[in-house]
Amino acid sequence: MKFTTTLLAGTALTVAGAAFADEMTIVSWGGAYSKSQLKAYHEPYSAKTGVTIINDDSSAEAVAKLRAMNEAGNVTWDVVDVVASDAIRLCDEGLAMEIDADTQLAPAPDGTPASEDFGELRVSDCFIPQIVYSITFGYRTDLVGDKAPTDICAVFDLKAYPGKRSLEKRPINNMEWALLCDGVAKGDVYDVLATAEGQDRALAKLDTIKDSVVWWSAGADTPQLLADGEVIMGSTYNGRLFSVIEEQKQPVAMLWDAQVFDLDGWIIPAGLSEERKQRALDYIYFATDTQRLADQAKYISYGPARKSSAPLVGKHADLGIDMAPHMPTDPNNAKNTFLYNYEFWADYRDDIDAKFQAWLAK
């Protein structure tokens, strides 16, 4: 008993010690993405303030872990990088704190308040967007024949483009693409998808290519499948395709049609001590200003979320190529984009996912 008490007391001391030391834990996705944040945000911030930043690559389970930490009453994270839909859920559950853009975030260099600079990308009061990314298709230039696909419906066209394609093993995006290619107008997709008939219709369309689909669950899958020639086209994050094309020089090209825009950004967990909260806010103020967001684009091909950052996007730090044409937000790439409806998926995700999984298992 005594031994355990000592042990518990020891643990408590360590935890308390960590909280008061001059360091903060920032949670992100790991890999090239964390590296871009390290270069663009963490290193300059540490140099400026002397705060040590600890990286934790747990963003994929951020919502579940934050909920567990909240239940246990011991939140060990200071700033967390999550996708917009997760930020909305964290805000809904009261697990993230609300942030007032105009008083707690840096204004644009010309004085435009942050709320205007981020505009409608601030989809939740708890969320400070960092980047715009998109989920889109890449294809093997040498395997698609002489007619390169320019239309999203090429994915569903087995006659013109025989071979395997990789799609994410979840209904989000796939259902929308299926309906678009089944003749539903872009503006009606979510109305149709809200009905049982619409869901059946989308699944029926996916059924036409089901035997030719490899389903992925990790972002690295499609790049690997494309590089091995296992599939001729596949969906993934545009930044992953960028590295396959420009860094690994694989015979792969982008299909920007009906790319689905999504957002990634910061939240600050609710329930931090006053001191940690202030430091987290200070970090956020620094890391989401116009220049910092533009800097990140030097290391990874995701578009900065501030309007004022776009003109500052320069060349890739190592490759020296111009980054603007590789941004999902570039006018040439964004001719036909599809907007992800967060509210719809917050409501229908569980229901449609059950149907989707049942359909997959059939």
């Binding site: 809904d92 409501d347 049942a358």
Partner: protein, 552 residues
Amino acid sequence: MSDATQNGPMLAADGTPLKRSLARSLRNQKLRALALISPLLIFVLLSFIFPIASMLFRSVENEIVGNVLPQSKVQLEAWDGQSDVPAPLYRAMYYDMFAAAEAKRHTRLGTRLNYEVSGMSSLFRQSGRKLDKPGKDLLKDFKKLDAAWAKGGAIYALMAGDPADARDTALAATKRAEISAMVGETIPASFDFAPSARVSAMLPATADAFMAYAAFEGGIDGKNLAKGKPWETVFVALAEDLQTADATGYNGPHADLLAQAIAAKDSIAAPDYGAIFAKIDKDWAKASTWQTIKTHSPTFTNGYFLNAIDMRRTAEGAAWQPEDKQILLTLFGRTLIMSLIITGSCILLGYPVAYILANLPMRTSNLLMILVLLPFWTSLLVRTSAWKVMLQQQGVINDVLVWLGLVADEARLVMINNELGTIIAMTHILLPFMILPMYSVMQTIPPSYVRAAKSLGATNWTTFWRVYFPQSVPGIGAGSILVFILAIGYYITPEIVGGTKGVFISNRIAYHISSSLNWGLAAALGTILLAVVLILYWAYDKIVGIDNVKLG
């Protein structure tokens, strides 16, 4: 005992009866032993028993509805669910929802109910934003009567009444309990506001609404009530109270304001709570929305377990999920069957290896043993990904087969992203768990038995089947139990190589833990899985006998 009474008790050296002395020393010994294992015992309790118990509990626990909507829950229980939604239910829901929205708990409840019916999540989120409107409109009416109503502290002074008044402590205690259950925090004892009993009797709804505001803003957030502006609900409640209130003879603070408002009660509309909800969202006008909340309002629910076996809880009792949503029973069945196949293939592959290991000279067998153990030292993810490289259509095995001309280039074999991929990869990963117990059992089989059988004229096969094999069965049993139980809960390998037809129930559990956050359902699925393993273990014990299992 009879011996002792007849012959007198036998005494120990210190004069106590021997029996008692022995019992005492035995007890001391036991206590000492317990003290020695207590760190381990506490560790096991904390890290194993307690989490499992809390998981079991989560699968039936459903306190959230009662915590977030305490008054509505009472009204929901009184409602039969068939007739029109009664007015008191609308009323209770309005005040409950408002408090929940202030504490940001309504969205949690929305998420919970969204597991049952799509659309509840946004219904609750959006309703939370629109609940201030009726109160704001009423405040304008009050302001027209007298600007003093809008001042921070006016309502507080009215509710606090004369300092000499008796306090309505019963109301204060109820509201404190409700708010602290909803937020999950206790209100400090230093917060001691309670409305004046006189005012509370005169304006019951207002006192109720104000106390809820006071308990949250003052008790939880620690704000100064004397200066703050009360929630909009207070004005809605006040408008309701004005219709029946009688303030004659009341002389406390703001008695004039109140008298003036009562006199002008015709210009202030009494709230119609049903209309408020109908205006917020058309879904609130549907009885089905209220039925959903009613169905899922008990503190303990079988809903998660029903969901876990492709059923659902409805107003009429348990019903099957629509056919296109039934998936979990299929996955349970698949998990069991594939785990059995994996166990079977581990036996087939492992037995000869273990036999060779056990019968080779020590030096060679040690070398081979390292080969068996090698995969143990490699990351699970690396091994699984390696199988991907081997098995995919442009992978090593297919390339070799095409090069040999055994398979046409267009007809490359599909060996991954299906059941086969999962079976191959998992058999490989779990094989050491089969070989090691078999090996240690086979090592103990004396070679003289085999020699004796042969010298008595048995053929090689008879010797093996009648003499050697029966003695090695305990090893097979131990290996099979290990492999099967490990396989049934496997997650990462099926996720990577399983495609659509090779995933297990644990992949759904992981989805519900980390993506959909439906922890209740995940707990129910986990509990069922645990029960299945225990039943199989019990069956194994009955059929084979657990004494026949040896790890060495």
